[in-house]
């Protein structure tokens, strides 16, 4: 497979300003996007892929996607300095050739001339830096952290669906049952529902044991061709589906914090893989907090929306006990959460399961289809969801 002839350049736009004291960096990105769309004869709603580099203010592609109100199924913020945007055209062509998006937007913007003038007329914050993250001034003042922004999701989920603290606690209980077999796990003690709900309140309604651990550490993954994989002496774990999507308030109308971007990334991955949630034998689910797991399980379709509380209760996530073994390494709740980014360890444990190399006490009997899913950023503000489905060959 090649990108040759699979993608076309449909629109371009170069911003006319050479000195921009009076508009923000985010606005220049957006005006460039608007100009390129008009050049192409397309509208904002046609865009389903977005590419940006380190000049885009905020967290990867997510702040600018939210600023512009984009609904995406593909994004890429690969940073290689000034060459990024040439590389992005190549990446966009790959994504289009693979059907991962059909209209890709690439933007660049910056205001280095304003740095010497004290931040482009702003007050507070470094020039062109934090003050130019478009949402920063309106959001970074409220003492928001992952704890209380996820707390807000849990609070609303309980309000809308009757989810209880005891049901959330079962997620931690299941993780602890798995962690007891992991020599490296940060927390190895098996805990009970009572232990969780009697632990100190951190951010209502989340208790200390609803929260993941903070650890050092790391991980790595190698992906290769079928030919090379078959030449190696390792079990064959094939990537068969992947989906991604950011979610943010996008202007704040109809805010609903009870679902995550998994409602979009999941179906994309399942469709590509040609399987359904019922086919999945093991799931690595990002567990920054217990509520993170519950919402993502619902959004991925392992149960109906609002029924996650019932689904996770009574050990249903414990390997050998329940219907959907999850995070058999102990996950972020018990094992580790290196540099507060749990995505790679989710892939690693799913691969261990697919290979049949998980701890014998937690290994699922038929690991033919496994899933790894995560959300990064905050479910309470803006986040990126990613779903990966793998098959043991």
């Amino acid at each position: 497979m090649s990108i040759k002839g699979k993608a076309y350049i449909a629109g371009v736009y170069e911003h006319p300003l050479r000195d921009a004291p009076n508009i923000s960096t985010a606005q220049i990105h957006a005006e460039c996007a608007k100009g390129a769309l008009e050049d192409a004869g397309l509208t904002k709603d046609d865009i389903d892929g977005y590419f940006c580099a380190g000049d885009a203010p905020g967290f990867g592609a997510m702040s600018m996607a939210d600023y512009m109100g984009l609904k995406l199924r593909h994004m890429d913020s690969t940073e290689t300095g000034g060459s990024s945007y040439i590389l992005h055209v190549g990446h966009a062509a790959q994504a289009i050739a693979e059907g991962k998006c059909s209209v890709a937007l690439i933007t660049l913007a910056g205001r280095p001339r304003q740095a010497r003038m004290g931040g482009g007329g702003g007050r507070g914050g470094p020039p062109g830096g934090a003050s130019d993250v478009p949402e920063a001034g309106f959001e970074n003042i409220w003492g928001g952290s992952t704890h209380n922004t996820y707390g807000m999701c849990a609070m609303r989920h309980m309000h809308d669906y009757g989810t209880t603290a005891e049901q959330l606690a079962w997620i931690k209980v299941a993780a602890s049952h798995h962690a007891q077999w992991n020599d490296h796990a940060f927390l190895r003690d098996v805990v009970t529902v009572e232990d969780v709900i009697n632990s100190p309140m951190i951010a209502d309604p989340l208790h200390r044991l609803d929260c993941c651990v903070v650890t050092d550490g790391g991980g790595a993954v190698i992906v290769t061709t079928p030919e090379i994989a078959k030449s190696l002496k390792r079990p064959l774990v094939k990537v068969i589906g992947a989906g991604e999507a950011p979610k943010g308030p996008r202007g704040g109308l109809d805010l609903d914090l009870t679902y995550s971007g998994a409602v979009w990334s999941g179906p994309i991955a399942f469709e590509e893989a040609g399987v359904t949630p019922a086919d999945i034998k093991y799931a690595s689910i990002y567990d920054s907090f217990t509520i993170t797991v519950l919402m993502q399980l619902e959004d991925l379709g392992f149960c109906k929306k609002g029924e996650g509380g019932k689904f996770v209760a009574d050990g249903n996530l414990i390997s050998g006990v329940g219907k959907l073994p999850f995070n058999t390494d102990g996950g972020g709740l018990c094992n580790n959460h290196p540099t507060n980014r749990g995505g790679i360890t989710k892939v690693i444990e799913a691969v261990r399961q697919a290979r049949g190399e998980a701890h014998p006490k937690v290994q699922v009997p038929d690991p033919s289809l496994v899933l790894a899913h995560g959300t990064g950023g905050s479910l309470g503000t803006r986040h990126g969801a990613a779903t990966l489905i793998m098959e043991r060959e």
Partner: protein
């Protein structure tokens, strides 16, 4: 609760980061006016304020003074690493958009999903006041 600090003071709020796009909002805040943005092309309000409409991408967005009233969509009281617990919340403004904020002057009876609140300005450390909300 984990908080054992004696004589808790109110949480000190840092000066908001202001840029050229948000400066009109903060200038109005100094005058006690709560502004939101509305798009003349699609008619919809949005939050946080942008010069391009996040709904339809029109450049025809205009500032509009809001009474700053709405209902609590959700909240969470933070107990960790703070001298005094504080409530972060989303308020659904009567104009439509949800606003991330802190609820102040609340008690157990008034800090509820669905409770009506109104903007009440709170001073910051060296910057313009910020749009906290209080029960009405």
């Amino acid at each position: 609760m984990a908080d054992t600090t004696e004589a808790p003071a109110a949480r000190r709020i840092p000066a908001p980061a202001v840029n050229v796009e948000s400066k009109p909002f903060w200038d109005a805040a100094e005058q006690g006016k709560f502004l939101i943005k509305r798009c003349k092309a699609c008619g919809k309000a949005h939050w946080y304020p942008r010069n391009l409409c996040p709904h339809c991408f029109s450049s025809e967005t205009v500032w509009e003074e809001s009474p700053g009233e709405g209902v609590i969509y959700t909240y969470s009281v933070m107990h960790r690493n703070t001298p005094v617990p504080y409530a972060i919340a989303y308020v659904n403004l009567d104009e439509g958009p949800a606003v991330l904020t802190n609820i102040i002057d609340y008690d157990a009876a008034t800090l509820k999903i669905g409770a009506r609140v109104k903007v009440k300005w709170t001073p910051t450390e060296g910057g313009p006041p910020v749009f906290t909300f209080a029960p009405v």
